[in-house]
């Protein structure tokens, strides 16, 4: 049991983000209102982004921009001084994809509301099967 506890404390960031992902996933599947589902989708994607960014962290390291003391001739850039730039770069793409999907889902919701005057999934299903 103490083994599990020490495991959780050493990696608490991963546990936190996985719990956040599951909250978002639950909202996407179980909620009835379309807007709540879209909010759940946003939480899910944001939690994945945070998970990735936290992979790149190194203790006692600074942001991935060269300190001015290191530029110039005879400079040595040590990798342990800077956090991992690759994960942040990948997540730039993921953030843009999440924003694009969110914007398009909002456009669809606006159009569905204009046509049916309701946003509850069970009412929509009833209307469509008439």
């Amino acid at each position: 049991m103490s083994d599990l506890l020490s495991l959780i404390i050493a990696k608490y960031n991963y546990w936190l983000y996985v719990i956040l992902m599951m909250i978002g996933l639950y909202a996407m599947i179980a909620k009835n209102n379309l807007i709540k589902k879209i909010v759940g989708m946003n939480i899910f994607q944001t939690a994945i982004i945070l998970f990735y960014v936290s992979i790149g962290y190194k203790t006692n390291a600074t942001i991935p921009i060269i300190k001015s003391a290191d530029t110039g001739h005879g400079m040595v850039v040590r990798a342990a001084d800077y956090i991992n730039p690759l994960t942040s770069c990948l997540m730039l793409t993921a953030i843009v994809v999440s924003v694009a999907t969110f914007g398009f889902a909002m456009a669809l919701t606006v159009r569905i509301y204009r046509r049916y005057q309701t946003l509850e999934e069970d009412e929509l299903r009833m209307r469509l099967s008439e």
């Binding site: 996933l25 639950y26 190194k58 942001i63 398009f104």
Partner: protein
């Protein structure tokens, strides 16, 4: 349904947590993720590209191909909103307010329009009295926000920033204009045609700079081969990155405004928030 969702979510969560059992601790500089490729990026980026910001160098140079498609993703979202929502039908009724007396005119025939200006102002269906302080403050702020946005795009290589960030800030300054005044003001100043052309042009600048490298003898996106065209010596890769960032900034700015206008007015481009 909720029970099924709960079971699925618990199983997925358990699977994900089981997978983290062998991860390195948080912040470990010797985890495999921080060793193999990312060490190369940190140590060699300044020599090869002369851009101090590692993230921008990786995003626009080493993995620039991903960023080109990411710009295409946001372009698709804007184009999709336009395709889905745009309603070209003419509006039939207009409301105008006579400013000195407060009298409201309801014009039912769409063809006769009253020019707005000092005497008449245009009204939406859900019009509220515009606050003078609100309008003036936003009017003063907008140019400074735009200058800041241009700064963020231009300094992408040297400090946190880049094309996406700068483009979003610029787009939000235009959206601030629409929120503080009304949507008609924005639509009259910046036509839909200009926004559409800017969006496509931004992504074309990116793809164009990338494609020009091919006839100059390199692979796609190989900025090093642009040296005959850009007289920059060893900084030619950083200049290629800047050109690409400018393209991205233009595209993102136009797309943000297109998405906002189409969603808020449900495609009609006449009234909104």
């Amino acid at each position: 349904m909720k029970l099924l969702a709960f079971i699925v979510v618990s199983l997925t969560g358990a699977l994900l947590l089981y997978g983290t059992a062998e991860f390195s601790d948080w912040g470990d500089p010797n985890s495999p993720a921080s060793l193999h490729v990312s060490n190369y990026y940190i140590e060699k980026t300044y020599e090869e590209t002369h851009a101090p910001n590692f993230v921008t160098a990786v995003v626009t140079d080493y993995r620039g191909f991903d960023t080109m498609f990411e710009t295409a993703v946001i372009f698709c979202a804007g184009l999709g909103c336009f395709l889905l929502l745009r309603d070209f039908r003419e509006k039939k009724e207009y409301f105008y307010r006579h400013i000195p007396t407060g009298v409201i005119l309801h014009v039912k025939d769409g063809k006769k329009k009253i020019t707005t200006g000092k005497e008449f102002e245009y009204m939406d269906k859900d019009w509220v009295p515009q606050d003078l302080i609100n309008r003036t403050a936003c009017r003063i702020l907008i140019p400074f926000i735009q200058i800041y946005a241009l700064y963020v795009v231009a300094h992408g290589d040297y400090s946190p920033g880049g094309g996406f960030q700068g483009g979003v800030i610029f787009g939000s300054s235009l959206i601030l204009l629409a929120i503080s005044y009304d949507l008609q003001t924005l639509v009259e100043r910046i036509r839909e045609k200009l926004l559409g052309i800017l969006a496509a042009t931004g992504v074309l600048i990116y793809a164009g700079i990338a494609a020009i490298c091919m006839p100059m003898g390199g692979n796609f996106l190989d900025y090093g081969k642009l040296a005959p065209l850009l007289p920059a010596g060893s900084h030619v890769r950083a200049l290629g990155m800047l050109g690409v960032e400018i393209g991205v900034g233009i595209a993102v700015m136009a797309i943000m405004v297109i998405i906002y206008i189409n969603i808020v007015s449900v495609g009609r481009h006449d009234e909104g928030l």
